[in-house]
Amino acid sequence: MTLALETVGLERRFGGIVATSNVSLKVEKGARHALIGPNGAGKTTIINLLTGVLRPTAGRVLLDGEDITSLKAHARVKRGIARTFQINQLFGDLTPLETIGLAVSERMGAGSDFWRIAGSKSEVVDEVVRILNQFRLADVMDERTSILPYGKQRLLEIALAIACKPRVLLLDEPAAGVPEHERHDILAAVSALPKDVTVLLIEHDMDLVFSFADRISVLVNGALFVEGKPDEVARDPRVKAVYLGEDADV
């Protein structure tokens, strides 16, 4: 078993509150791993700890066996771990074209080029074209991001993470708030993610979780509660009691 991502005794306190408590999570290479838990369980805190937005109070984060705990957020992305955000974090004044172009330039080492015009490298252009088409953003590529329909913005969230060509991708509720008629595009994009990319999915939508994940971890009060295959987790009476509620049948 090779691990793409591992945490060892991860802990984060905010004053007296323990948001993440001794979490030792193991995500296998190529896995479709879901992290679920009730509201306030600390799921997003874990994403923030994995990506370097927050520093852990204790514990370590390992990416492909290498300790990345002390790396800053931007340096971790360069190591191959990228994320999306639960609430859109996009560049409102930029177009999808510029946004994707920026991420691709950055990955291809042209990001700090201050002399050539953005998008003048053909390998950058080819990659931008591929991503725009893959995520069906071509027809809105020259619109300002802030005026795009919400579903397109959610797609751009995922496209932007993919533009970083991660080995490990953290999806923080990709379908959150997307209206029904736009959901299909998001689900299609998520299920079409390349197989060699390890995915850790945080999600409230149980249909999405159980159709997507091959492994599920349940987080309660900042601590790992249960972990296993989807059918094991679904059958587990403790999970039903704590998380899914009494009348849930999945």
Binding site: A82, G92, E106, D113, F114, I117, C164
Partner: protein, 344 residues
């Protein structure tokens, strides 16, 4: 608008065409620069004030680079202006470098070092912190120049500055003709460089950092690194603007560091708008012309009208400093037939 899912796809030539269009010269830009250069022949009697306008425009361009593109607000940008001015003055006075262009470059480089060092202070904290830190640095530099009068001339200013003819041929004359050609030329070249930089991937990343630093770092952009870089560059621009003033006046004074100068500069950018490079240039023209006109009209109370203008502009602009010019710029982009034909 609720059309079924389109499956339009793009090709490399579509995308590279759109990227190229971002950096293409708009017809209004060409008109702007033709108008600027035509003043050489059309307004020869106004070259003294036009020189001041060109220098103020360069100074405002510098602030626009950090405010409009990177979102760093400063109330002490005169620190760099004054520093560059004194470096140029000391070089000329002590006969170290009397060749103007070389002295200009050295002043810019020296000021960029100051910008680099102070950028680490400016990185920290919120807008209010940045206002105070930048203001504080300008005050400290002014007092240092005041204190070390043996070197700087203190309150009397720096006098006896020697500046050779430009290119060894064009001597600075009392009508300010050479000074104007020189200042306008420097402004134009530095504008071209700035335009190139803001259209580069680096320039694009600055706008991303300004819009959302959290996301910028999530796509592997080093936010701090970019801010340090642009702050250093902006300092060099401001230093060169200060050096230009010293060279064209053959004089430098403590007033170059004054808070008023930093505050006026923000006013210039509020008038012209930020984040499209021309804001500082247009703002400088409007500000100086208004200043000139109003102070003839009411020599003592001209600031009243400037204050009124400021209040009106900010009320119209509301949310953002760039606000009130946005409709004008949308109009300008609609006037660009090439952008139109590309889209349809």
């Amino acid at each position: 608008m609720n059309s079924p899912v389109k499956t339009k796809s793009v090709t490399a030539s579509d995308v590279s065409g759109l990227f190229a269009a971002r950096a293409r010269w708009h017809p209004l830009e060409i008109i702007f620069w033709l108008a600027a250069f035509s003043t050489i022949f059309l307004l020869p009697s106004k070259h003294l004030i036009l020189t001041e306008i060109a220098i103020l425009a360069l100074f405002a361009l510098s602030l626009d680079l950090i405010l409009g593109y990177a979102g760093i607000i400063s109330l002490g940008h005169a620190a760099f202006f004054g520093f560059g001015a004194y470096v140029a003055g000391l070089l000329g006075k002590n006969g170290i470098i009397t060749e103007p262009l070389l002295a200009l470059i050295v002043s810019g480089l020296a000021t960029s070092v100051l910008g680099f060092v102070t950028s680490f202070l400016v990185l920290r904290g919120s807008d209010l912190t940045r206002l105070m830190v930048t203001l504080g640095i300008a005050l400290m530099l002014r007092e240092l120049a005041n204190r070390y009068r043996d070197i700087t001339g203190g309150a009397d200013g720096l006098q006896g500055i020697v500046v050779d003819p430009v290119f060894g041929m064009f001597r600075f004359d009392i009508f300010g003709h050479t000074a104007f050609y020189y200042s306008l030329g420097v402004l134009f070249v530095l504008f071209l460089i700035a335009r190139r930089i803001v259209n580069s991937p680096f320039g694009l990343s600055l706008r991303a950092v300004k819009a959302n630093p959290l996301r910028a770092s999530a796509i592997s952009i080093s936010v701090d690194g970019r801010l340090v870089a642009i702050y250093t560059l902006a300092a060099a621009y401001a230093g060169i603007a200060g050096a230009l003033l010293t060279q064209t006046q053959a004089f430098a004074s403590l007033a170059y560091f004054d808070f008023d100068r930093s505050a006026d500069l923000l006013l210039v950018l509020i008038i012209g708008g930020t984040g499209y490079l021309y804001g500082g240039l247009i703002g400088a023209v409007v500000f100086k012309v208004l200043h000139d006109y109003l102070s003839i009209l009411t020599p003592q109370y001209w600031l009243f009208w400037m204050g009124l203008l400021l209040v009106l502009i900010v009320l119209v602009g509301r949310e953002r400093i760039t606000g009130w010019t946005t409709p004008l710029r949308d109009l300008a982009s609609r006037l660009d037939w090439r952008a139109r034909s590309k889209k349809s």
